[in-house]
């Protein structure tokens, strides 16, 4: 408990210093003129990684409010990503949206199709946003060259491995290519008779479509544009065939769940695991063995799809509120706050200057694994930003599941998923028009 108390005071301190510097920077703007009426805005956010995030966010917002007497942000915890989206949609439906919110980045087109988002390109260009944010991360908020928010909590999948299990099997380093991944998984799979006691590899289920997109990206293709998906392209089919070969060779279970796969890894029932960088702190702290982290192995190239979400700003609100929302989003993603957020939560800092700060350099020296995800981020891009992404994800997941249990051929499954997905996307687009 003691250390977390220190954490809070350190955070508050950080927040305040950061707030002061931002206030200093913006001091000349008319927005900050005193004597004006206080702007009240709400910020709806999910808690994806740990309950402590709620405290961290509340602490940040407290510091923001203290530093900005003319703005009052109300922090509203809204459940999971899906819950948050429902809550925001409901408020949008009755014409009373929150000023800002934090959805998963895949939802960008969904909110755009509701005409709910404020274009912040001009504000960002007047600022250092385009120079300082990592392009792959900023890209998650961009559609048609227009910027609709600032990346706040960023993650990618990474490869976790059980160092003890690798050492036992005489393997020196984590796999770097698909072929090495397959061979390593084979060497790590342990059986007792018919029963597998340790899988070589598990791909975190529930989000395996997210992992799958990373595999397709490693084949050199982004399998979607803003109005269609290409799950039936040769690159996608090849990726699924690779998964099928691993499943048929018995080195990887045909299905898993998100929490179950993390639990299996911690319990030593799988030696390697594809999971989110967001799980790093939990996996490292809860595993009774040493945990290694590696970038996802490459095929034609390295590649990763981004998870996590940006702070978006509502269109349907007065200009003064929009400016206040921008001040808020900008503050939450400033250099000091992104460094702190990264250290405290395991999400990746979105700013180059955060990674270059002395504080983060110390952190990376302590936890070199954090750096892995950053290196991989150079190859990362947005995840499945199509309208109606909920259903599209389900179509894709179902195609993968049915293929892996041997019900259908990879190419047929993906053709079917592509057709259903594109029909759904068209339906959503018609609704927009």
């Amino acid at each position: 408990m003691n250390s977390s108390n220190n954490g809070i005071s350190r955070r508050t301190f950080l927040g305040n210093t950061a707030a002061l510097s931002v206030a200093g920077m913006l001091g000349g703007m008319p927005l900050m003129a005193s004597g004006k009426e206080q702007v009240k805005l709400s910020f709806m956010y999910p808690v994806g990684v740990s309950g402590d995030i709620n405290r961290i966010v509340s602490g940040m917002i407290g510091a923001f409010n203290a530093a900005h007497p003319d703005i009052l942000v109300e922090a509203i915890y809204a459940g999971s990503y899906d819950n948050t989206e429902q809550k925001v949609m409901t408020s949008l439906g009755v014409g009373d949206p929150p000023g800002t919110w934090l959805p998963i980045n895949s939802a960008l087109q969904t909110f755009l199709s509701m005409d709910a988002l404020e274009d912040v390109t001009a504000l960002a260009k007047a600022d250092d946003v385009y120079q300082d944010f990592l392009p792959g991360f900023l890209g998650t908020c961009i559609s048609d060259d227009k910027l609709y928010g600032l990346p706040f909590q960023c993650s990618t999948p990474v490869l976790y491995f059980n160092k003890a299990a690798l050492a036992k099997a005489g393997i020196k380093s984590a796999p770097n290519t698909w072929d090495e991944l397959f061979a390593t998984a084979k060497a790590l799979t342990l059986r007792q008779g018919q029963d597998v006691t340790q899988w070589g590899l598990t791909i975190g289920g529930g989000w395996h479509d997210w992992m799958f997109e990373s595999y397709v990206r490693q084949n050199g293709l982004v399998p979607w544009t803003k109005d269609k998906v290409m799950f039936d392209a040769a690159e996608s089919v090849d990726a699924l065939e690779f998964w099928l070969r691993m499943a048929q060779a018995g080195v990887m279970p045909t299905a898993s769940t998100w929490q179950g796969s993390a639990n299996d890894f911690m319990a030593g029932r799988t030696a390697m695991l594809y999971h989110s960088t967001g799980s790093m702190t939990n996996l490292r702290k809860s595993s009774p063995f040493e945990v290694g982290v590696a970038p996802m192995p490459k095929n034609k190239t390295f590649g990763a799809s981004m998870g996590g979400g940006p702070i978006l700003i509502a269109k349907n609100q007065p200009d003064a509120h929009k400016r206040a929302c921008w001040t808020f989003a900008r503050w939450m993603t400033n250099t000091a706050n992104q460094s702190m957020w990264c250290k405290e939560t395991g999400y990746l800092a979105a700013r180059k200057s955060s990674w270059e700060s002395a504080e983060m350099k110390r952190f990376v020296a302590e936890v070199p694994e954090a750096r892995i995800a950053l290196d991989q981020a150079a190859f990362a891009g947005a995840f499945l930003q199509v309208p109606g992404y909920h259903k599209v994800r389900e179509y894709l997941k179902s195609a993968i599941d049915r293929t892996l249990i041997g019900e259908i051929r990879p190419d047929a499954a993906l053709r079917e998923a592509t057709a259903s997905s594109n029909r759904e996307i068209q339906r959503m687009l018609r609704r927009r028009g």
């Binding site: 977390s4 994806g48 990684v49 429902q86 809550k87 009373d96 998100w258 809860s286």
Partner: protein, 273 residues
């Protein structure tokens, strides 16, 4: 020995069943005292090496659980109190009064049971907003003060009460309300208790509706605090989640333990009179 077996054979059958029922609760309790790495380490055994009582304050620190507890009690208590009044009056009217459109109205009540709560979230949301009740405890209570299901249950129970009893009461000078109070309610107590249990558990555990209509911590309820610990991104934080679960379910468990005899009694007497 044989005598023992004859006398206590029910215990031998029921004991394993009771243990089976208790096992999740025990598992929750034991897990709430473990360290994070003990939860998945099969070598660590069933019990924690050293009981980690600090999991409890650590779990409770993520949200103001005390405030949430008071809110949960207020909300669930108000809902059940209001429901018992409304369903009793409605069920009596449907079971014993004659008025035009009765069957149609009762049919509509039944239709309400068939709608899943999620289907009417948006309309309820709009109503609550227009009433100006957003982000208040009222928003959590008002949509549930009537219950089609409870009305239906009680309606069936009232119809099984012999009408001779009501007639006798009328001869003794009872009006509708006193007949209801002195004749019907004592006879349908088991139904009321059964409905109360279902309703209390449902509303105590409700998550999505409170999440939707409340924004500030002052008006939120226990399941929302629990949701903070059961998250999707990184695998649940088992030890703290289980500690918080113990805290959230214990008021209900305590309530049942205290009133157990009364609950069982009212079930035992069903149909005897």
């Amino acid at each position: 020995m044989r005598h023992m077996l004859c006398k206590y054979w029910q215990h031998f059958v029921l004991l394993p069943v009771a243990l089976l029922w208790l096992s999740p609760v025990l598992w929750i309790g034991v897990t709430s005292l473990k360290t994070k790495s003990e939860v998945f380490d099969s070598a660590a055994g069933w019990l924690p090496d050293i009981a980690q009582w600090s999991n409890y304050p650590a779990a409770l620190s993520v949200a103001p659980f005390g405030r949430y507890l008071i809110n949960s009690v207020l909300v669930t208590g108000s809902i059940i109190a209001a429901q018992l009044v409304t369903i009793t009056l409605a069920a009596y009217a449907f079971a014993r009064l004659r008025f035009p459109g009765k069957n149609l109205l009762f049919g509509l009540f039944l239709v309400q049971i068939m709608f899943p709560i999620y289907a009417i979230f948006l309309t309820n949301f709009v109503t609550i907003r227009e009433l100006g009740l957003m982000n208040s405890l009222w928003a959590l209570i008002v949509p549930f003060v009537a219950s089609g299901y409870g009305t239906f249950m009680l309606h069936q129970a009232f119809r099984q009460v012999p009408s001779e009893l009501a007639d006798a009461a009328r001869l003794d000078g009872c009006g509708h309300l006193s007949t209801l109070w002195h004749v019907y309610l004592p006879l349908v107590k088991p139904t009321l208790v059964a409905f109360a249990i279902i309703s209390v558990v449902t509303h105590w555990n409700d998550y999505m509706w409170p999440l939707l209509v409340t924004n500030s911590e002052e008006v939120r309820t226990l399941p929302i605090g629990l949701g903070l610990l059961a998250k999707a991104d990184s695998g649940a934080d088992w030890t703290r989640l289980m500690a918080a679960t113990i805290v959230v379910v214990s008021p209900l468990l305590l309530f049942f333990v205290i009133f157990q005899r009364r609950f069982v009694d009212s079930f035992m007497h069903a149909g005897i009179k």
